[in-house]
Subunit: 213 residues, 2 copies
């Protein structure tokens, strides 16, 4: 499968390497090509392009831009993203307070805003509430008994992303929260995530749902 990764921070780079190592074709974009030159040198086979080239290249696109910049970054790619799957793992976090953007919380979410911005794109929210290393290697926690949430309006696209999570990254439990309004619940997990990170000093954790047997 061909993946286009928009954004070349730690998350974008980690996903690119994991996808490439699993045998996928991967292009990573940066608005400043010099910023990823050494990464591309160190990872022969991974392609680089500008954001439009990357969105055009990929069959599945992953939004790894910072949440507060995602709408601006994605709007110019509207044509290239037409009818494609866009995995959105961004969070509309406002630092240093680490609160969520007031316009994207509770009765709205960044996932929904991206879906409204790109109505012909299949926006699938997932992976936003774990550290990049866990995204691509959930077994890092010593067990696979923890859960990844997913939401999106297009059922078939959600199934394809679920398969990517399970077959490429090794997730065992993927919980479907329903349509893209489920992104509210996923993004509103961040305050809890950040508190636990602050208290334990480690990002190596995730949540599980414990059900009555």
């Amino acid at each position: 499968m061909k993946f286009g990764i928009i954004g070349s921070g730690d998350v974008g780079k980690t996903l690119a390497v994991a996808l490439f190592q699993s045998g996928q074709q991967v292009m990573v974009s940066s608005r400043a090509p010099e910023a990823i030159a050494s990464f591309i040198d160190e990872n022969p086979g991974i392609l680089s392009g500008n954001p439009f080239e990357t969105a055009s290249f990929g069959e599945v696109i992953i939004n790894c831009t910072p949440g507060l910049k995602s709408l601006d970054a994605l709007l110019p790619l509207k044509h290239a993203l037409y009818e494609k799957i866009l995995i959105d793992l961004s969070n509309p976090l406002v630092f240093p307070e680490a609160t969520l953007l007031p316009s994207a919380v509770n009765t709205d979410s960044l996932g929904e805003q991206i879906q409204r911005l790109l109505p012909e794109t299949r926006v699938i929210k997932t992976l936003n509430n774990v550290n990049a290393k866990i995204m691509v290697n959930p077994e890092l926690l010593g067990t696979l008994d923890h859960v990844m949430f997913i939401s999106g309006n297009n059922f078939l696209s959600k199934q394809i992303v679920t398969d990517i999570l399970k077959d490429i990254f090794g997730w065992k439990h993927v919980f479907d929260l329903g349509d893209i309004t489920g992104a509210r619940a996923q993004e509103m997990l961040l305050p809890l995530w950040l508190r636990i990170f602050e208290k334990t000093g480690s990002a190596a954790f995730n949540f599980n749902i414990v059900k009555k047997a």
Copy 2:
């Protein structure tokens, strides 16, 4: 220990019975005494009173009023709640949308609003994200490996409530999120809780933190 339970819905009644059966003294309040007359008849030993009597009776008070009514219900009890522990398990949910009250989310929370309303009371947020049956019997899930969050400004009071959770209700894992601003994270779990409830059709679940071994 003497417990005063403000609010006599299912949550208040469930807590009252569990506390009484563990040997505590318990008074339950209702603004309409006839509404709990049959409950009091069926549970000899559990006391009833008006909200002020109940807040005066208890050493530890539990707010079981609906979230949107909590501030109005608690303000008249300010004097009776002076320097006491107030366990707050309410959520500022607006139905039928089941969103959180916009004025009590992200940069504020109901827990913090109650603490500001009652500055001389030790407000401890906990138990707000599980069903009443699980609050008082976490082993109902077939395991004790799931977590209850707690937050509050007064460390000693938080320790007392942690002991109540563990010794009376049987919780194994209580995770301290810090000061009462942790209530934001706790209340913002509700959209996720409600989605999971909607998808699974069961309230018999809770979350666990899965950490790197």
